[in-house]
């Protein structure tokens, strides 16, 4: 059906609107995420990163719009062994050992019975926890626990990895090692959507998405975004884009009084940014 696999984006979002607890979290988002890249989803906490990720893995109720992953409806049964998801809070069983946790998740994603042992050893090694494989998860430190959770998402080598703040609270060496792993996975064709509220992580990504109030302020490589804003780094680019958006909102607000100032309108600047 698909003539050229490379043309179909790994993740395709069209006019996505999400309302949580009566509040519009994502007011209408359209987005394409290319395959085989490390894509950073950057923005302050509360901007809708987790909600967008939940839409991509198909556990978020959406008000309208369409989300497709690998050209299939997000969250569909055909996708569940092809997409790995790391929730922001570590989601593993505290009362089991690392190994028991991973053996279970390996079985769930359909790893052949005989290969379970090797697969568990592989992912434990990837997140540098081989020395602790027999330890109960609730005896580990917070950073170790989140690495167990990451290992569980890596089991079975999914084609798309949706990782919600995987490097938060880790020491710099481990963080560098994890980003190396992410890039190696991407070289192997895996698409990674990785969120962070730390703008500095932009330099580690092939492609960045700057998000604010449920909308993308920018969508492109770091160089493109910096070029379009004249900024030195991602944080400054973000501030420049927010200022522009606010100025645009103020101008629109002057035209039709009463528009809430913190509601970011259709970001004209994102078009500029990708140019």
């Amino acid at each position: 059906m698909v003539k050229n696999e490379g043309v179909v984006p790994a993740i395709r979002v069209r006019d996505l609107r999400v309302i949580r607890g009566g509040r519009t979290v994502i007011p209408g988002l359209t987005l394409d995420i290319p395959r085989g890249q490390v894509v950073g989803l950057l923005g302050p906490s509360g901007c809708g990163k987790t909600t967008l990720m939940r839409c991509v893995v198909g556990v978020q109720k959406i008000a309208s719009g369409d989300v497709r992953v690998l050209d299939l409806p997000a969250g569909g049964p055909e996708l569940r062994h092809r997409v790995g998801y790391l929730t922001q809070a570590p989601s593993v069983y505290g009362d089991l050992t690392i190994e028991e946790n991973l053996r279970y998740f390996a079985a769930v994603v359909g790893t052949p019975r005989k290969a379970v042992g090797d697969e568990v050893a592989r992912v434990v090694d990837l997140v540098s926890l081989a020395d602790h494989a027999g330890s109960r998860v609730d005896t580990l430190s917070g950073g170790q626990r989140s690495r167990v959770s990451l290992a569980a998402a890596l089991v079975g080598t999914p084609e798309v990895l949706v990782l919600d703040e995987p490097t938060v609270g880790l020491d710099p060496v481990l963080r560098r090692d994890l980003w190396d792993i992410f890039h190696r996975l991407a070289e192997g064709g895996v698409t990674l959507l990785i969120s962070s509220h730390v703008m500095d992580e932009a330099v580690r990504c092939d492609h960045i998405l700057l998000m604010r109030a449920g909308l993308m302020l920018a969508d492109g490589t770091l160089a493109e975004v910096l070029g379009a804003t004249g900024a030195k780094d991602a944080e400054q680019a973000f501030l420049t884009l927010v200022d522009r958006a606010n100025a645009a909102a103020a101008a629109a607000g002057a035209a039709s009084a009463g528009t809430p100032a913190d509601h970011v309108p259709d970001p004209v600047s994102s078009k500029e940014a990708t140019r």
Binding site: V59, G75, Y85, D95
Partner: protein, 250 residues
């Protein structure tokens, strides 16, 4: 659903219980202590027919313990799964909702079988509970009662958002059944209306079965009928439990 995923889930839940030594000790010892207490309270109390009162309530108690305990354990366990985020992760993976619910039911069925073996053995061989019917049937009914507790626990935990709520479901769902199941006097003697209501409650059938085994030598036929009703409730609980599990949440 797939047998491998169901069994993997059951093994995982059992693994969690296995690491919790104190829970295992409580599961096995508390019923014995309570049964012993019951036997002691009624040590000198004779029924009107001249029998020992413990022989009358011992059977129902053996049916009620696994039901209550497993109900509580199941609803807390599934609530924890929800709150730890592992449920959200599992629902993005190729695990069927039925695999998860059935996995839980099987794991707690195994726990109940062990608990029931210890409790029944203690009641019959240490406390001298008089059982007219076959003793193995006591075990079968006790395991069925535990499955009933597990199925209802799975179902109602879907409606609990906090631990406080989950614990409140115990008096809300279990105590009325406890009062009306026949432990405090034969169900036939309940006021009109209340008796019919007790016919709708699953625990009534579980306790009827236990009473039949302890009082009748040829119990198997009646007990099987009661067990069919209990099985119906188990299946309904599991199906409703799976149906109320939502992959997409607000």
């Amino acid at each position: 659903m797939s047998p491998r995923l169901t069994l993997a889930t059951a093994a995982r839940v059992l693994g969690q219980i296995r690491h919790d030594r104190r829970t295992i000790a409580l599961l096995l010892i508390v019923p014995c202590v309570l049964l012993g207490l019951g036997a002691w309270i009624f040590a000198d109390t004779k029924t009107m027919a001249g029998g020992n009162l413990f022989d009358q309530i011992g059977g129902p108690l053996l049916g009620i313990f696994p039901f209550v305990v497993i109900f509580l354990v199941t609803s807390i366990a599934t609530l924890r799964e929800r709150q730890s985020g592992t449920l959200e992760r599992l629902l993005t993976l190729p695990l069927g909702k039925g695999d998860l619910i059935a996995g839980y039911a099987i794991a707690f069925g195994v726990v109940a079988a062990v608990q029931a073996t210890v409790a029944c053995g203690f009641a019959v061989y240490v406390l001298g509970l008089d059982v007219r019917g076959p003793v193995w049937l006591l075990l079968v009914v006790a395991v069925m009662d535990a499955l009933l507790g597990s199925a209802l626990g799975l179902f109602v935990s879907a409606f609990a958002v906090t631990e406080f709520q989950a614990v409140q479901f115990m008096p809300a769902f279990v105590l009325p059944q406890f009062l009306l199941c026949g432990l405090f006097g034969p169900r036939d003697e309940l006021p009109e209306g209340l008796r019919q209501f007790s016919d709708l409650l699953p625990l009534s059938y579980a306790v009827d079965a236990m009473t039949t085994i302890t009082t009748k030598a040829d119990a198997t036929g009646d007990v099987l009928l009661d067990m069919l009703v209990v099985l119906g409730f188990v299946v309904a609980g599991v199906v409703l439990g799976a149906a109320t599990l939502r992959r997409r949440t607000p």
